[in-house]
Symmetry: D2
Subunit: 310 residues, 4 copies
């Protein structure tokens, strides 16, 4: 924790940010690869901040549920580390992956070991590990999110899961490819099921900001028990900063300067270690798959508070 | 600058770090691709810290000159931005590059635009830009380092430059390849000359810590004048964090958690924005090309001071 | 047919070839990726020649059944062209593929269109097409082979098919990957089933030499009806010459100089258009997956007869 | 030589072919990467046939000189084999290369050994070898072409050579890249000079058909002495068939069915081993870099004579 940093006045700050980004709301394009996401109203925006004690503040559509998608990868990673420990890193790296076009050739070059847990290949390995450890990866993940967010109503979106499945050939290709290198333990169809259910979990900004609290608390859960070692929490934050926003990690590091993880549903979670967690949502994406208004709002946050790393 | 952060007691801290890493000194393997580097005594270690006011503290071989190599890429980037502004980013990206094996195919896929200014392709573009802007890139860079370090004796190492040239076919390939896309303005042989001279500059830890001060001072030079906008200084720090340590940026982010740039001479520069700059040197490299003892010493620094980003 | 070429004395020729390659029998290594193939006795060799009228001559183990594997790709291609015509070439190319390491990146670069019908990706497209055209690709293929060889006892090897399935993750990855580009019409699991059954068909040299006769007869089947246009038969022969022997097509062209298709079971079919067809079998493979003794025997054939193309 | 094949009536045949392709003349687009080629009148067409005794027949612009470009690669290969023998094949392969986009990654994957002598990388290795063997590769090659064609007026086109040099960054990149693997013996700038001069040689169809005669005569030169062993001549013909027409070798094999080598100047040389050699020229290229009318004319030749391989 940073010595002497005083917490900002979050409600005022959030109002200010909402006003600043208001002209942008509606920008970008919602994800189009599955109908369930393509139909979302792009004129929505919400943002929430949760402090270390679990107090949460929000603005706009901060209590509206949306499809968490890849944001769930952070929580799956945390659970897999908590349940199974550091041996996970023998099966997935922690380095940025370069641009996406070569994910398969990179997998081939590196013998089926994905570069990091936030590209799809790496997330599949994480879910595979979680499945082996728990026997029911997606349900465990949902239960974890319910507990950390304090929201027992969190659930899967069956329509989204079915839609993911129907358009899931590329993920299936990646999973079988890694299986051919012995880096998938469970049957690929079962793994894909859990993966698509995982992606379909619906959460609000409030839920996500609270659920990510353990990353600001250096590994301590909402109930005060320890989920991760301090070192493991650091690992996750570092991977978020360098790999959390698809092929825009460098841009995100420069503009926002915080560990963050985005999803194609338009959500982003970010962490100020030792101080607070942020969640922001707006469905319109930029060409790299990150929420246009979400990135802008986080940019405003660090600019206004001086909490940027750099 | 972080509110309320008090500066550590640097001399005591450096002694402590030196003691902690002493058992490691001699580990790793000096760079072997040119004889001038391969012959360096690996049992050397130095570390220096410079505060915002230009006071510098050191331990071990902190005044011994060594081959700065890729550490110079940070300074060349700063000069190119200072002289020519943001249009540089049209010719080089700011994203991590993934593993090195595919640098050429990535260049091809992205039409001759390198991923970032710290891979060799990107550094060649930066030097090319600097050459166009100044007419004598390597001399301008040397002069800049002399001024910022306050050391008028800094110079090139002609033997190293010649050796780089002799083993420079891969850099020549990359430069010609980018030229075929119109992304090199100067004649390739002249560009390579400046690039090899740049890599050969000899500096000590003291020199580097002082010379990098403008990155901790958000763009202000040693003489109080402005070199870069605050935004440009942030850009460089962000690129250092995500791309500064070859294919170990994720690992470095996790272990050290500071913007840093390494060189195959065994040197590393790191920045605590708003507080201080660090330079560390020990010739033995790990398999990814970063100084084994250097990374360990920076790891100790952030662990002991709590100054890590995460 | 070549004007004036007189047919060799096949029985004497085969005896001569068998004697010439006898010292080599047992060389190479049987395919090891599935147990059913790895256990085959490598000290077997057979060769058969069938003339245009369906007379067949043989030597050695020329009536012993073995796993046809990729040799079946020629027959599947012929059937798919016969049933569905040239539109197949919109979904698969006719160019060599370079070395195998980059099959996936090449598929990605070329939007899911495989380079030719003899790499696995292309063969999967052919089987997919055949499945759409016939509703039961593997049974149709088996029936076709029975008719052309005149051997009603030809059948699948269930153990081999099951073994292929168990080790089929890479083929599954390729199929799903092409499906993600819309280049697979049938459900991937069903397609893979047919593909693995297809590979498992057992044939002898006698069967294969007879069954391939339509390629020497410019498209005319054993019963005198037309299967393919003359142009289609030429297409298949050309693709065999340039793409039929994995990453050794150039070597095969130089040494043998005939259109040929090999399989990892150790079989090879070759064609002297207008004159005869050849089948050869010996389980030991070279490092590129072609039968060591098989290639040597075909080499002797063209050397002794002067029938080489070059 | 094929037993019993009677030579066609060449003059009548050539007239017929010229009439057949007349509607196509002017199709395609002359090479545009250098001005000297882009400016050529596309409405030109010539074709020549030379028999084994050096009698040559022609039609159209068969005596008009044009830029031989990559057609010279066949002759450089023959000379390098003649002068230095089979050890050349340790430095360059004989397999097709797949599509051109991945030439550099393939070079990297295969440690600087090009796939075959007809891609640019491979041709550079051949010229490098010839330079080492003779001390003046381009002059030796020109002299060889003069002798075999019987035309002492053959020469370089200095404008084309200069233009190639000016646009030669990609070739320079490839040469330096191979040099970094130790697969280039001569200084890269000198090698490139010889390579660009080689490409600039001007020849007519008559010259090329005569000069290639040794490939139809199984290695015997115009003066009756032996240039290559029979085996080496076969090697070259096989490499021409599988690799001689850029990324259209499969298409060329199917349509023409003869060993052939094309150049971006619009020329193509083809060989009927044991019977004759063909040269055809028309500047308009298809999208893969082969002469549209040239391929059509060769297609007619094999269709009308039945001399196709398949």
């Amino acid at each position: 924790m940073r010595n002497g940093t005083t917490a900002p006045d979050y409600p005022a700050l959030l109002e200010r940010i909402a006003a600043d980004v208001a002209p942008l709301v509606g920008s970008g394009t919602p994800a189009e690869y599955i109908p369930a996401l393509a139909g979302v109203d792009p004129y929505q925006f919400g943002m929430a901040v949760a402090d270390l004690d679990g107090n949460v503040h929000g603005v706009g559509d901060w209590r509206v549920p949306f499809s968490a998608q890849s944001v769930t990868k952070v929580f799956a990673l945390a659970l897999a580390l908590a349940e199974g420990g550091d041996s996970l890193w023998e099966r997935v790296g922690r380095e940025p992956s370069g641009n996406p076009f070569n994910s398969l050739v990179q997998l081939e070059y590196e013998n089926g070991i994905p570069r990091n847990p936030f590209i799809n290949a790496g997330a599949l390995v994480v879910t595979d590990r979680l499945q082996t450890l728990t026997g029911d990866a997606s349900s465990e993940l949902l239960e974890f999110l319910r507990q950390e967010s304090g929201n027992p109503d969190l659930g899967f979106d069956a329509e989204v899961a079915a839609s993911e499945h129907e358009h899931g050939d590329r993920n299936a290709a990646v999973a079988h490819f890694m299986a051919s290198y012995g880096n998938i333990d469970n049957p690929v169809p079962a793994l894909l099921d859990h993966y698509f259910w995982q992606c379909s979990i619906e959460t609000s900004c409030a839920d996500l900001a609270l659920a990510a609290g353990f990353l600001a608390r250096h590994g301590i859960r909402a109930d005060g028990t320890r989920l991760l070692t301090r070192s493991e929490a650091k690992q996750i934050n570092a991977v978020m900063l360098t790999c959390g926003t698809y092929d825009a990690a460098g841009e995100f590091a420069y503009r926002v300067g915080l560990p963050g993880k985005s999803g194609v549903g338009g959500g982003i979670v970010a962490v100020v270690p030792g101080l607070c967690t942020l969640a922001v949502w707006s469905p319109g994406l930029d060409r790299r798959g990150n929420s246009v208004v979400g990135v802008a709002a986080l940019d405003r946050f660090t600019t206004l508070t001086g909490l940027s790393v750099f």
